[in-house]
Symmetry: C2
Amino acid sequence: MISKEFIKRLDQKYGITFKNIELLEEAFTHSSYANEHPDQARDYEKLEFLGDAVLELAISDYLYRHYPNLNEGELTRMRSNIVRTEGFSEFAIECGFQNEINLGKGEEKAGSRSRKTLLEDVFEAFNGALFLDQGLKAVQHFLHLTVYPLIDSGEFDDSRDYKTDLQELLQQNGPVNIEYTTISESQAPSHFVVELKVNGELQSQGEGHNKKAAEQQAAKAALTKLE
Amino acid sequence: MISKEFIKRLDQKYGITFKNIELLEEAFTHSSYANEHPDQARDYEKLEFLGDAVLELAISDYLYRHYPNLNEGELTRMRSNIVRTEGFSEFAIECGFQNEINLGKGEEKAGSRSRKTLLEDVFEAFNGALFLDQGLKAVQHFLHLTVYPLIDSGEFDDSRDYKTDLQELLQQNGPVNIEYTTISESQAPSHFVVELKVNGELQSQGEGHNKKAAEQQAAKAALTKLE
């Protein structure tokens, strides 16, 4: 059962109040739980089917409108980076979904509550439920508070590799020593801070959802100073 | 340039009037034409990127709501049958898109106006443009007049193979001669009528968008009589 705390949190943090609370319950019900309670519960798999397409469109629409300079190939690559990523599982955790999942006993014991693929599925199912309950605009509003800022951070934009560009720029006049060091790392939400030193001298810092993204941001910051 | 006849047809047949006619123009502009007219024209590729996701969601939503008895695996298979199909090119022809495409001279000579993949792309781009101009509901209304009826005809439902089922039923008591004959065939819109004879005796007829679908419908009709 969805907790009252979570319902309150959805409202306060994201402005979401479900009209049909059963959809929300379904979005958080794993098949293992539904199998144990066949008369009470439907699992989230059909909502996940729908949510997958909801996220695909909401993200495509965002990219189309906010990245007018990218061509079709770049947009497609960025979309598949976002949709394919395990990042959705991080959002599921950040949004407090993890504790609300209805799991069967065996899956609970096996630690499935922390399984990334399960958390991703729940994130998709939640967006499917929100779409059915309140339409595409409500999903887009929710993503403005969660996924879209991460897109704008450049996390999924592999159209420019800042680390390589920095290396090429710095090594024009001979070899240099470029060093990235993780100075801070936390989970749930996942957050990394990386320091970039060139020939032992601190150049910049970068933050990101994972180490690779934080390093790219550090390189980008150094490039901005140098260019 | 989009013809006045086509704009009138869109309105009369589908109730669609574009607010931003440039989007419609873009949806029908192939890159070969845009390359020849770099200052005037944008090609449809970015609208195709968006339209692909628009169709995916509109079709997922339709399947979710109208096929409550299908499980997630069946829904996913049906969705990919629909989205993967070359059927979109038939709709592009039926909707009169073919004559409106802005093509470069070389592609025109090469006969690209009739190429299925190009017609599919244009159908996707048109739905992307309609989504930007008028939102998801307008796309769904358009699909109610075009794609959804074809879904309901069973064309994409491979969950049951009626021809095989009929054969197995009829051959329980020894060999029989089952014969499908196409008795009528037309293009634009594509329509086939097939007659089914068992041991030379007429059993049923079937109609469909292609020969395979018409044969399945004939087998289904015969099964309904027998079962």
